[in-house]
């Protein structure tokens, strides 16, 4: 059938992306401030041998890079879903105020519940992301004409600034700035296995359900009236997709703090590789997003070693020109 040739080439591309991903993983494990070799990596992953190098890899690098992976995948998939759902090429969980909302909720939780555990903080991030998203969409819908790409980005910028100010204010007032910025500016530094055990399942489940709904998302991204006409329960599907975005974004912020541009950049790059059908875009975004974050974090660790350059900064330096490029093309890079 018509899908077959495309599906075949997609599987080849997915395998290539998988190779890039594995390559990125090895690079991220081997390179860093401490001197480690491929042999150390092998020992760390395949045996119980305790050497300094193996311990560094197991307890410091591995959890940190697993965090980079899942966050890269989560934010890329969330961005792709947002772009499909809003038919807006500039949609991104960071640009549209979701991560800032989660961030403010995180600051508030740390300030009011100093003993809060990872679970509480994660839930707070979900709520914050949801409030951020609802604010942006309701501001966007205030005026007739609805959610034009630029209006929603403006609303996102305003909400972002608002929540950022709140988070700062809370930090200063409750004298928890240091704790808050441990999360927000730190990126993936200091991620522990227990944090990962807590948050990763949310992300994996979120991505899995997204993949299951990818065909629905393609249909919705074509034209909502067509989707209704074909018998899609659009309200139901849109609500589930919205919850998935909140889940993926909230979990990412709980893990690494504010992270913009990944969700914008990765789906655009992926569309260039596999086209605009979300059955292909979503799985590819997950893999490329994970690989990208691995490389970005490795770059952050090595570019000025032994000092860390926060991965947020690396991503922003790469992401901002990309954003301007898409704005310049008027979103036409979208199709």
């Amino acid at each position: 059938m018509s899908n077959q040739p495309k599906m075949g080439s997609f599987i080849v591309k997915l395998q290539l992306a998988g190779l890039i991903f594995v390559g990125s993983f090895i690079v991220s494990m081997v390179f860093g401030a401490a001197d480690t070799s491929m042999h150390d990596l092998w020992l760390a992953l395949s045996s119980d041998v305790i050497t300094d190098q193996a311990t560094i890899i197991r307890e410091i690098r591995l959890p940190r890079e697993v965090a980079a992976m899942v966050v890269g995948a989560a934010l890329s998939v969330a961005g792709a879903i947002m772009q499909g759902l809003t038919r807006n090429p500039l949609a991104d969980p960071g640009l549209l105020g979701l991560t800032a909302g989660a961030n403010a909720a995180l600051a508030l939780t740390i300030a009011l519940l100093p003993t809060a555990n990872d679970f509480t903080i994660t839930i707070a991030c979900f709520i914050g992301a949801a409030i951020g998203a609802l604010l942006v969409f309701s501001i966007g819908l205030l005026k007739k004409g609805g959610l034009s790409p630029f209006r929603i980005v403006l609303a996102g910028a305003a909400v972002h600034a608002f929540f950022f100010a709140i988070a700062e204010g809370i930090g200063l007032y409750f004298k928890v700035s240091k704790d808050v910025s441990m999360w927000t500016a730190g990126g993936v530094i200091g991620t522990t296995w227990s944090q990962l055990q807590m948050i990763t399942p949310f992300i994996l489940i979120g991505i899995f359900i997204s993949l299951f709904l990818s065909k629905q998302l393609t249909l919705l991204s074509l034209n909502e009236e067509v989707a209704v006409g074909l018998g899609q329960k659009t309200t139901q599907i849109k609500s589930i997709l919205f919850i998935l975005i909140i889940l993926l974004t909230g979990a990412s912020v709980a893990l690494v703090g504010n992270m913009t541009f990944i969700g914008l950049m990765i789906p655009h790059i992926v569309r260039g590789m596999v086209g605009t059908d979300y059955r292909f875009v979503l799985p590819m975004s997950a893999i490329i997003g994970a690989a990208f974050m691995l490389l970005a974090d490795t770059l952050g660790r090595t570019i000025n070693a032994p000092y860390e350059t926060p991965v947020v900064a690396v991503v922003a330096v790469l992401g901002l020109p990309f954003f301007l490029f898409i704005v310049h093309k008027g979103g036409r890079a979208f199709s």
């Binding site: 059938m1 018509s2 899908n3 040739p5 495309k6 038919r87 299951f212 065909k215 393609t218 249909l219 991204s221 074509l222 034209n223 009236e225 067509v226 209704v228 006409g229 074909l230 018998g231 899609q232 329960k233 086209g275 605009t276 059908d277 979300y278 979208f334 199709s335």
Partner: protein, 280 residues
Amino acid sequence: MVRLYTDSLHVGYGERSIVKDLTIEIPDQKITTIIGSNGCGKSTLLKAMTRIIPHQSGGIVLDGKMIAKEDTKILAKKMAILPQTPESTAGLTVGELVSYGRYPYHKGFGRLTQSDLDVIHWALDVTGTTAFKYQPLDALSGGQRQRVWIAMALAQETEMIFLDEPTTYLDMAHQLEVLELLQQLNREQGRTIVMVLHDLNQAARFADYIIALKDGQIVKTGSSEEVICHEVLKDVFQIDAEISRDPRTNKPICITYNLLKGDPNEKNHDFRSSLVCAHA
């Protein structure tokens, strides 16, 4: 028996009501065309009848059931809708887009069965789009694209097909091509076609039944001879139209028209009931 009718239908956006107290029947296995000036509610009526937009009060009844209470997937097996100019097509190929027409028959991931493939093949064939099957939709001309969208609606295997201005943005030859395809589907397979058209002469030529709307209310319904006449057009469009007969089809055609002068605010509702058409 009439399968689809509306009963005192009200549709509106917010405060503004667009379709007011509308009771119409859609004749079975006929081509019905809705005409009227911009903003008269023709597209709104079409969208309400196909549950794309909700209605405020009154009812839309299909096969004895209110569509508002019917499962949307069951409706998708009975009525297909082609909205006005579906924009982006996400880089889908023609074959892929048409295969989406089988969506109402699937659950979850549902792989295409042989009978699905047969239907898709037939839909491509009858619309003359088989040759483009592996091409991306964006690479086709406007007329070809419109035929592909019709193929998708056909793959839905519904007895009713609704189209919102299917000829917009097409050149004259392609307009006729699309309308003739719809006529052929109606004549050969007995499919009920309901469409909004802007061009009165096309409406007169292809419709078995015309619904003329003004301000969300019916001005006149009936055959082309009954609706496309001087008095009705005067009321619906505020034009002074010269109506003649098409020498080839013998259907009424509007050869030329002038705008009617006078007070546009003056609404003469009594006039409507006394409409008499020369050709009726």
